[in-house]
Amino acid sequence: MSSTTAEHGHEGHGHDAGHGHHAEPNFFHKYLWSTDHKMIGMQYMFTGLLMAIIGGFAVYVFRMQLAFPGMSVPGWGRVTATDYNALVTTHGSVMIFWVAMPVLIAALGNYLIPLMIGCDDMVFPRLNRLSYQIFLISVLVLIASFYAQGGGFGGAWTAYPPLSAKAEYNLTTHGATLWLLAVALEFAAFLLGGINFVTTVMNSRAPGMKMFDVPIVVWMIIIASILFMASVGPLIAGAVMLMFDQTLGTGFFDPNKGGDPVLWQHLFWFFGHPEVYVVLLPAMGITAEEITTFSRKKLFAYKTVLYTAVGTGALSFFVWAHHQFIAGIDPRMANIFSVTTLLISIPVAEMCFVYIATLFGGSIRLQTPMLWALAFIAEFLIGGVTGIFLGASGADIYFHDTYFVLAHFHYTFFPIAFIATFSALTYWFPKMFGRYMNETWGKVHFWGTIIPFNFIFIPLFLLGARGDHRRIYDYTHFPDLMKPGMQDLRVLATLSLVTLLAFQLVFVVNFFFSMFKGAKAENNPWKANTLEWQAPSPPPHGNFPDGLPNVYRGPYEFSHPDRQEDYWPQNAQS
């Protein structure tokens, strides 16, 4: 791929004999300045997973406060109202912006795209490096905000002004500004990544790989990147205006100065709703790879999946105001957005139907990655159908800002950010590290995550239906919310959460143990068709030492009637 602009691209390395004589790159070049897409992908992945610890710790602390108000939480102490708001904000923004986005888009996109389309690296490797560096700075700025005078920002991850705009209201002078700066930097990082992904797939596909030979997960990351790039502009503009309001005393969102707080909500959700699909689509893509591989089936209606993904993406720009039905917008608008919101259920449901249809007539192997992929579909369906309650404007009057909403979007976001991520990590682990993860402990971790997950959020659905509103740090002040049984549900959710968090230790230990001591994996351990499995495990710098592959067919030719074997790699000549 001569289109690569980095130094190594010109050498046509791998089969370049001189390359082997190069000294091992020093630490600085190997880790801090590497332009290898796999290194950058891993860095995004580990950073994202480390951030999940922060997000997980935050939710542990505030859920303990909700279950046992006023208790001294082990590892934190007494939770004040200020702490509570900061923890809720941290949990929300970290899990979406610093876990789901970097792991699903940046890490997997970087790691998988060049390998799966059969090229040696991204088209803009240095831009890629810059993207991670900026992301890392955003992480540092966010962490700094926790230690700023007044503490971390506590205005919820949606940061609605005027609360977020004035220190006299939110009482976190520096925390709010640093939080906003971190978010803006993070967006800049992903903009660079998105440009890279789209350009690479358009220009650097292996010879013979036509548009419809591209694996679904790559397509999904591309569609997601385009959605992200098209929607993030208004939010970056909004973030700059909000920062001016905070620091320079401008009044973009200040009604006392002729501004309008609702404007922020439009800018935020114009990004915020497509953002849901920005993370959903890659998760759907991961699932497509695994259900085909582990049921030895061709993907049912490949093109339909693509069209539904594009349709979902396009529609996602017309649904944002369903977050604002009762926010004081013109009530007539709710009718339009109710229609578009219910319409978007069609392509998303269709994608689920396609995946279920793919299982038909398969030869299903329930290995750990497949368990995660199946769990993704099963759990995401719950998140999907409960969204209908909220898209139906009349019902949203009651459910808006209750735990029902919270449980609904956790039934979408948890499958996306964690179930799909675990399925991706367990599936591509042998490629990344050349070793298998332990299957038994993988299953222990699976059940230890899925069962408590449902026991966290089913109680929260029930609490929401009974009127529990969100972001309240102590329900004892509300007589109607302390009826018999309600506190028990809160306790059940919290205990399930603690169980779920405890089981993540199994994953951490399994992950690192397998990385160094796991059984050696061959190049194509799952007998899959896509190109990344034709590279050595782990792939060297340049990916394909025997020369870049040629592609002869689509990615899902499993169990073809003319073949003895039940798989047919994309680059196999016959």
């Binding site: 609360l163 609702v262 049912f300 009762i326 004081g328 030869s363 239906a465 007589p479 169990s559």
Partner: protein, 237 residues
């Protein structure tokens, strides 16, 4: 369904409960069907020795039926839900039936001020009754409300009425409700409004007509001087 746990105490609560029940029935049925088929496939097509998976592209119209039929079913049920959702929405948010009285609700960090019209039935007169964190209304009377905020966003939510409306500083947002059950119920602030957001509970007391008259008598009318122009605009300068 909802009313089993949360009283249904306003004229439109029943309609919203019906909508929720309808959505539950429709989505519940399809969700259950999808999950049953899904798990059936997982069990039925579990890998067996010597059995090769089928090769189905899913591109021919005959095969695509398996996705197309549920697709159209989803569309039809979406239209049904939208119809009832919009109908309910218009009843609650887009119509303003004739009011028997108007109350003003002023939110601030972190308390509610409720201005009742007093015996003369008019706001901004000398006999207005101003209370903090307590709203008194009469059963079976239609009320208009005026929502104002002195600082940040708040939201006026009465779960037993199935009513919720955000409050925006600088604006007066109007709406209505008609209580149909007497008793005392929670008022919540459902929009995060700072560190005291969890400490903003209030109560709505729905009186029977006799009780309401007695309550009104017992209140010392506020003096006219308390009703300054600033307060009429929700504290906006």
């Amino acid at each position: 369904m909802i009313s089993k746990y949360v009283e249904s105490a306003s004229s439109f609560a029943g309609q919203i409960d019906f909508l929720i029940l309808l959505v539950t029935a429709i989505t519940g049925f399809w969700w259950l069907l999808a999950e049953v088929i899904f798990f059936y496939f997982i069990v039925k097509y579990n890998a067996k020795d010597g059995v090769k998976a089928q090769y189905i592209a899913g591109e021919s119209p005959k095969e695509k039926r398996w996705v197309a039929i549920p697709h159209y079913a989803t569309l039809i049920f979406d239209v049904t839900i939208v119809f009832f959702a919009v109908q309910t929405w218009q009843e609650v948010k887009q119509t303003m039936p004739q009011a028997d009285a108007t109350v003003r609700i002023i939110a601030q960090q972190w308390a509610w001020t409720f201005v009742h019209p007093g015996p003369d039935g008019k706001l901004d007169t000398a006999d207005d009754i101003r209370l903090v964190d307590e709203l008194h209304v009469e059963k079976d009377k239609t009320y208009h409300f005026e929502l104002q905020s002195r600082d940040v966003l708040h939201s006026f939510s009465v779960p037993v009425f199935r009513l919720k409306q955000d409050i925006i500083p600088g604006r007066t947002i109007r709406g209505w409700f008609k209580p149909t059950m007497s008793g005392g119920f929670d008022i919540q602030c459902t929009e995060i409004c700072g560190i005291g957001h969890g400490l903003m509970p209030a109560r709505i007391i729905v009186h029977t007509p006799e009780d309401f008259a007695a309550w009104q008598l017992s209140q010392t009318p506020a003096t006219a001087s308390l009703t300054t122009p600033t307060e009429q605009t929700g504290g906006m300068k």
